[in-house]
C-alpha cells in the first residue's frame, strides 16, 4: 500500500561547517532520502568580471588570485597565458619551468585541503591535521619565493614577480622526499580505512555520459573513468615535455565514478605532480624571469579563450580586448561552478548524511563558483 506522503524541505547553509564556504542547499527529503537538491549560490559573488573591466591587464592578476583561493598560482597561470596569447609574446624558458613547478606544487597543496576537508566532513579529524601540516611546508616554499602565503600574485604577464630563492631547488627536493612516504601514510590512515570506504564507495555515482553532458571536468570527470586532462589534451606551457600519467577512477572498492574514486584520483594525481616537479626541477635553465614583461600591456583587438587544468578542472579565461589598456570583457569558466551543477543529480536517492560526502568529493571552492 502506498501512503501518500509529503516531502520535507530542509535548508542547509549558508553557514554550515561542511559546505566548504557559503553554499546554501535546499534539500527536498522523503524521510531520509533525498528527492531533489537545489543549490543556491552567489553568497560570495565578488564581482570579479566587473573589476576586470575596470582594471588594466596586470592589475587583474591580484583579483584572479582571489577567485579560487586554494589554487591561486593556477589562476594566475591561466590568466597570464591568455594575455600572452593575446599579445603574442613568448616567455623565457626559465619562466615556463618555474611556472610549471609552482603550478604543480599548488595542485598538491590544493588537493591536500580537498582530501583533508573531505575526511573532516565524514568524521576523520586526524588526517586533516596531518595534511595541513604538510600543506604548510608547500606554503613556506611559496612564501620564500614570492612573500605571500595564500594569494601570491606571482605570475605576471611575460614573466614572474620574483626569481626563485637560491634555496628553493634544495628545499623542494627535500619536500618531495618527505612527501612521498606521507602519501602512503595517508593511504593507510584514510583511503583504505573501512569506515571511510563504507561512507564513500557506491555513493554519488557519476556516469561518464552525464559527466560530459554536464561539462564536468577535472578529478570529478577522471573519477568517472575518462582520461581527460587539458595538460595532455590541449597542452599549454611546457607540459608536453614531461612524462606523467593521467590517473582515472577504476572502481577499486565500488562502482566507477563514485565518491571514493573521485577522492582516490586526487591522491594519485599528487604522485604524478611530484613526478612532474622532479623532472622539471632538474631542468630549470638559467636566465632572466622578467625579460619579456612589457612596459605597457595593450593587446590588439580580438578575443581569446584559453584553458588550463586547474586542480578542480578546466579553468578557462575568455578575454575580449578592444585595444585599450583595460580588458573589454573577461569571462571565467570556473571549474567548480560547472562541477557544482551536477551535484543535484548525484545526490538523488541518497541519504542526508551522504550529501556532505558527495560535496566533499566534488571539491568546490565557493570563491570560484561565485567569482
Amino acid at each position: 500500500m502506498a501512503l501518500k506522503t509529503e516531502t520535507m524541505i530542509l535548508n542547509m547553509g549558508p553557514q554550515h561547517p561542511s559546505t566548504h564556504g557559503v553554499l546554501r542547499l535546499e534539500l527536498e527529503l522523503d524521510g531520509e532520502l533525498i528527492v531533489n537538491v537545489k543549490p543556491h549560490i552567489g553568497y560570495l559573488h565578488r564581482c570579479f568580471e566587473k573589476h576586470a573591466e575596470a582594471m588594466s591587464y596586470p592589475q587583474v592578476i591580484p583579483y584572479t588570485d582571489r577567485m579560487d583561493y586554494l589554487a591561486s598560482m593556477y589562476n594566475n597561470f591561466g590568466y597570464v597565458i591568455a594575455v600572452e596569447k593575446l599579445l603574442g609574446i613568448q616567455v623565457p624558458e626559465r619562466v615556463e619551468y618555474i611556472r610549471v613547478i609552482m603550478g604543480e606544487l599548488q595542485r598538491i597543496a590544493s588537493h591536500l585541503v580537498a582530501i583533508g576537508t573531505n575526511g573532516l566532513d565524514i568524521g576523520a579529524f586526524t588526517p586533516f591535521l596531518y595534511l595541513f601540516r604538510d600543506r604548510e611546508k608547500i606554503l613556506s616554499l611559496f612564501e620564500m619565493t614570492c612573500g605571500a602565503r595564500l594569494l601570491y600574485n606571482y605570475m605576471w604577464v611575460g614573466g614572474l614577480s620574483h626569481d626563485i630563492h637560491p634555496d628553493f631547488v634544495r628545499l623542494t627536493k627535500e619536500f618531495i622526499n618527505y612527501f612521498r612516504p606521507t602519501i602512503t601514510e595517508l593511504n593507510n590512515l584514510l583511503t583504505f580505512n573501512k569506515i571511510f570506504i563504507e561512507r564513500t564507495a557506491n555513493i554519488g555515482v557519476l556516469p561518464l555520459d552525464t559527466a560530459i553532458n554536464y561539462g564536468v571536468t577535472g578529478p570529478s570527470l577522471r573519477g568517472s573513468g575518462l582520461a581527460f586532462d587539458i595538460r595532455k589534451e590541449d597542452t599549454y606551457s611546457i607540459y608536453d615535455r614531461f612524462d606523467f600519467e593521467i590517473p582515472v577512477g577504476q572502481g577499486l572498492v565500488g562502482t566507477v565514478g563514485d565518491s571514493w574514486d573521485r577522492y582516490y584520483v586526487r591522491i594519485l594525481e599528487m604522485e604524478q605532480s611530484l613526478r612532474i616537479i622532479e623532472q622539471a626541477i632538474d631542468q630549470i635553465p638559467d636566465g632572466d624571469v622578467k625579460a619579456a614583461i612589457p612596459k605597457r600591456i595593450k593587446p590588439p583587438k580580438g578575443t581569446v579563450y584559453t584553458r588550463v587544468e586547474n586542480p578542480r578542472g578546466e579553468l578557462g579565461y575568455f578575454i575580449i580586448s578592444d585595444g585599450n589598456l583595460n580588458p573589454f570583457r573577461v569571462k571565467v569558466r570556473a571549474p567548480s561552478f560547472v562541477n557544482l551543477e551536477v551535484f543535484g543529480e548525484l545526490c538523488k536517492g541518497h541519504l542526508v548524511a551522504d550529501v556532505i560526502a558527495i560535496l566533499g568529493s566534488i571539491d568546490i571552492v565557493l570563491g570560484e563558483v561565485d567569482r
Partner: protein, 163 residues
C-alpha cells in the same frame, strides 16, 4: 550571562573581584562560530590546524551560534550574505565579540570601489571589536588580533558604563 552583563550601577570590592573572575573565564574560552566566508577562512583553518593551533587560546569552533561567544568574520561579506550574518549574530548569546579578519571584512578591501555586490565593511551591519588587517592576515596576525580581543575582555566590567 546576559543577566549579569552591565547590570550594576555602582562598583564595590565584590563586583571588582567578580569582574576579574568573569573576565578571566570569558577571555580564556572564546568559542568561535565556525564560519568561513572566503580566502581568509583558509588562513583561519590553517590557524586552527597543527602549526598554529587555535586551541591553545581556548578557541574552539562551534557549529551553532547558540554555543558561540565570538564570530571571526573571515572574508568578503556580500549583500546576500550580510542579512544572514546579522541573523547569526543576533542568535549568539551575550556577551558576544566580533573579530573582523582581513581587508574585505574591514572595509570591502580590494572590492570597495567596483564591488556592486560587496558590503563595504562588516561594521555597517554588526559592531566590530577588533580589526585584523591583512589580505589574508597571516595566522600569527589573527592570533594577535585574538590577543587584542582578550585584552579588551580583560578590561571589561559588570558595571554599567557611565556616559
Amino acid at each position: 550571562m546576559g543577566l549579569l552583563d552591565k547590570e550594576f550601577s555602582d562598583g564595590n570590592v565584590v563586583i571588582a573581584k567578580v569582574d576579574d573572575l568573569f573576565n578571566w573565564a570569558r577571555l580564556s574560552s572564546v568559542w568561535q562560530l565556525g564560519f568561513g566566508l572566503a580566502c581568509c577562512a583558509i588562513e583561519m583553518m590553517a590557524t586552527s590546524a597543527s602549526h598554529y593551533d587555535f586551541d591553545r587560546f581556548g578557541v574552539i569552533p562551534r557549529n551553532t551560534p547558540r554555543q558561540a561567544d565570538a564570530i571571526i568574520i573571515s572574508g568578503t561579506v556580500t549583500l546576500k550574505m550580510a542579512t544572514r550574518i546579522k541573523r547569526l549574530y543576533e542568535q549568539i548569546p551575550d556577551p558576544k565579540y566580533i573579530i573582523s579578519m582581513g581587508s574585505c571584512a574591514n572595509c570591502g578591501g580590494p572590492y570597495w570601489e567596483h564591488g556592486y555586490h560587496v558590503l563595504k565593511g562588516i561594521d555597517r551591519v554588526i559592531p566590530v571589536d577588533v580589526y585584523v588587517p591583512g589580505c589574508p592576515p597571516r595566522p600569527e596576525a589573527l592570533l594577535e588580533g585574538l590577543l587584542k580581543l582578550q585584552e579588551k575582555i580583560r578590561n571589561e566590567s559588570l558595571r554599567k558604563k557611565t556616559v
